[in-house]
């Protein structure tokens, strides 16, 4: 009798733990939104569309590819290697260095036989956390639901020889024994052609554009210092990855420098400093930015969409898109950037999209997009 209470407590605690781990609608307070299970060995039964997609994503997260692919409908036009490649990436793409950290699901609509679920995927990547929104279609298969996986479109480029004869700049530096002044090479001339400091929800943002006015490539970095009314420096930051660092002659790049947790009313002045250094570079690859258009997504957000087209003969492993948005006076009012998680193969395209904040979208009259790229063989 004296052991009854401890035994009862243990049993109740264990039961609650099991319920909390196996039950639906976990963790996130938003009504209708479920989040991914992280507990190894426990997967939801696929008796509802939400459970089915959670089961699939849970297995993907654990990289149990056989289990994950078993949750894919046979009617899908994809085989297991294609399915795995869709999640794992290839050709040194950003996806191949990323991991699925979590997800949230939101049912869009459901009937007895099919359903659609919107999933927000949370990725950990070398360039920071990335969120991706995907809509999944599911169909009933007996008493379970399975995900219809869209056919993975893999660029099929015919075998060909693509001559590359663009310029390449190499750098030969002088030795210590050189005569004084005999081998000095000046740093490239770069210039900030616009700067705009604004306050948004993120804090104070300094943004604008830089041009390489020189005839040689430049490695560029822009720094900004916020100065208060007394002339004291409040903070200094650099453009980090919100800039195309390598500028070829006459090339223009947007930049954005973030000062989180600062108010513009505390800032009297902004000191700008652009640093440029000589760098070996190549004019290859040429990447076209096709079909750029601002439209709205299903949630009403303004999105800049387009396609990157690799005109060269080498894969671009990690494309990085940076866009500046102008108001009707030509002032830069926003700079956004985003990484494309799939590699850009030769003579093929990849879509990209950048979200524009609502208050910026209303003022945007024009935009300019540039593509930065990270290549395993060349960086």
């Amino acid at each position: 009798m004296r052991h009854a209470l401890p035994i009862f407590l243990v049993v109740v605690t264990a039961g609650l733990m099991v319920l909390s781990l196996a039950g639906p609608g976990r963790a996130v307070g938003t009504v209708g939104v479920a989040s991914g299970s992280a507990v190894y060995g426990l997967t939801a039964k696929s008796d509802t569309p939400e459970h089915a997609i959670e089961h699939l994503l849970g297995e993907v997260k654990r990289r149990n590819w056989d289990n994950a692919f078993s949750a894919v409908s046979k009617t899908s036009g994809v085989d297991e290697p294609g399915f795995i490649q869709d999640w794992m990436g290839s050709n040194g793409s950003l996806r191949s260095f990323s991991g699925l950290e979590g997800f949230t699901t939101r049912p869009l609509h459901a009937t007895n036989d099919d359903a659609q679920v919107r999933v927000r995927l949370h990725w950990t990547t070398p360039v920071g956390p990335i969120e991706e929104s995907r809509d999944f279609n599911l169909v009933r298969d007996g008493d379970t639901w399975k995900t219809v996986w869209p056919k993975v479109e893999i660029a099929n480029v015919p075998a060909q020889v693509i001559p590359v004869n663009y310029l390449r700049w190499d750098l030969v530096s002088g030795g210590a024994g050189d005569e004084w002044g005999a081998k000095n090479i000046d740093a490239p001339h770069v210039r900030i052609i616009s700067m705009n400091a604004v306050e948004l929800a993120e804090g104070v943002l300094v943004m604008g554009e830089v041009v390489n006015e020189d005839a040689i490539p430049a490695f560029v970095n822009v720094n900004a210092t916020l100065v208060d009314a007394a002339g004291n420096a409040l903070d200094d930051e650099s453009s980090f990855d919100k800039i195309d660092h390598v500028l070829l002659p006459k090339q223009v790049t947007p930049y954005r420098i973030d000062f989180p947790n600062f108010n513009i009313k505390d800032v009297k002045n902004v000191r700008m400093d652009v640093k440029a250094a000589l760098i070996p570079a190549s004019a290859d690859p040429v990447i076209g930015i096709m079909n750029q258009k601002v439209d709205s997504d299903a949630q009403g957000k303004s999105i800049l969409r387009g396609d990157l087209f690799n005109q060269s003969g080498q894969p671009v492993n990690i494309p990085h898109v940076i866009a500046s948005f102008y108001d009707n006076t030509g002032k830069v009012v926003w700079v956004a950037d985003g990484y494309v998680d799939q590699a850009l193969l030769p003579q093929s395209s990849q879509p990209f999209s950048l979200e524009i904040p609502r208050n910026v979208a209303a003022r945007t009259q024009n935009f300019h997009v540039v593509v930065n790229h990270y290549d395993l063989d060349r960086n």
Binding site: A182, A215, K250, G288, Q292
Partner: protein, 284 residues
């Protein structure tokens, strides 16, 4: 750091007696031998302190003290001190020998054409012991491109420095800058590059793959072709949205392939310079 202290110490020892005296040479050229005459009799201690040298030796009063050329390699102010029962001192100046080398600094190493006062050069004559020659000397600055002389400007050094400043030339290419002093000369190369493009013009035509758009040869306002690798941004606007391609200039012309079957309005820009617009109709 030790030398001024040593000089002060020695000068503090100086007395006013006249048992011995020393006579230093009026003018000494760096790297030459010199003698210092002494008066009196008996033994004394001789000190010599100068740039890069401090010497102490026992001497016989009344005899000449020989200072070797190695001890006088550095130009500057020297102090000679002679001490027996009391100390006497004298100072002399060693000036640089005749110029033996020319340091020539030119800025910048790379300049756009037709820029006012954009080129400058500084020449500093040094003797064989690397002493800056402070005596005024005549230096001739010359700029030339190939066999064409662009500038010839004589200048005299002031406190060891002569300089020039000039406008960059109108033709892109390598410019030789030469500073000449008698039979000495130093040469530097300056790369003159094309300035911003002028009158950027493009044309476009349909091809099976879309629209091939290209510039006319891109030149600056003085007619120099812009450097290969210069980026020209083509912007095409059509029903599907906007397409941009950053294409490098190759052999004077930038080309881009724009994949579109619809009608397009295409423009070009190079840096902050805008070009013309062309309209290309839809694919039939």
């Amino acid at each position: 750091m030790r030398r001024p202290g040593l000089i002060c110490t020695i000068l503090a020892l100086l007395g006013t007696g006249s048992a011995q005296d020393l006579q230093v040479p009026a003018a000494v050229v760096a790297g030459t031998q010199a003698t210092i005459a002494t008066t009196g009799s008996g033994k004394a201690t001789f000190y010599l302190v100068g740039p890069g040298i401090s010497r102490k030796s026992d001497v016989v009063l009344g005899a000449e003290i020989s200072v070797s050329f190695e001890e006088l390699r550095n130009a500057g102010h020297y102090v000679a001190v002679l001490c027996s029962s009391e100390c006497r001192s004298a100072s002399f100046f060693v000036r640089a020998a005749k110029p033996a080398r020319l340091a020539f600094l030119v800025h910048p190493s790379r300049v756009a054409v037709a820029q006012a006062d954009a080129l400058s050069g500084v020449a500093l004559p040094f003797d064989r012991y690397r002493n800056l020659v402070l005596a005024p000397v005549a230096i001739n600055f010359q700029l030339s491109a190939g066999n064409t002389s662009l500038l010839s400007r004589p200048a005299r050094t002031v406190d060891g420095v002569a300089w020039f400043r000039t406008t960059s030339g109108k033709a892109a290419g390598i410019v030789q800058a030469t500073a000449t002093l008698d039979d000495l000369s130093a040469r530097r190369a300056i790369q003159q590059v094309a300035s911003d493009p002028c009158n950027l013009r493009i044309s476009g035509q349909r091809s099976p793959a879309g629209v091939l758009v290209q510039t006319e040869p891109v030149r600056d306002c003085t007619g120099n072709p812009v450097t290969d690798g210069t980026i020209v941004t083509f912007t095409a606007t059509g029903a599907k949205g906007m397409t941009t391609v950053d294409a490098p200039v190759k052999q004077g012309v930038a080309r881009a392939q724009i994949k579109s079957a619809g009608a397009l309005m295409i423009s070009a820009a190079c840096g902050v310079v805008m070009g013309n617009e062309v309209s290309v109709g839809a694919q039939p």
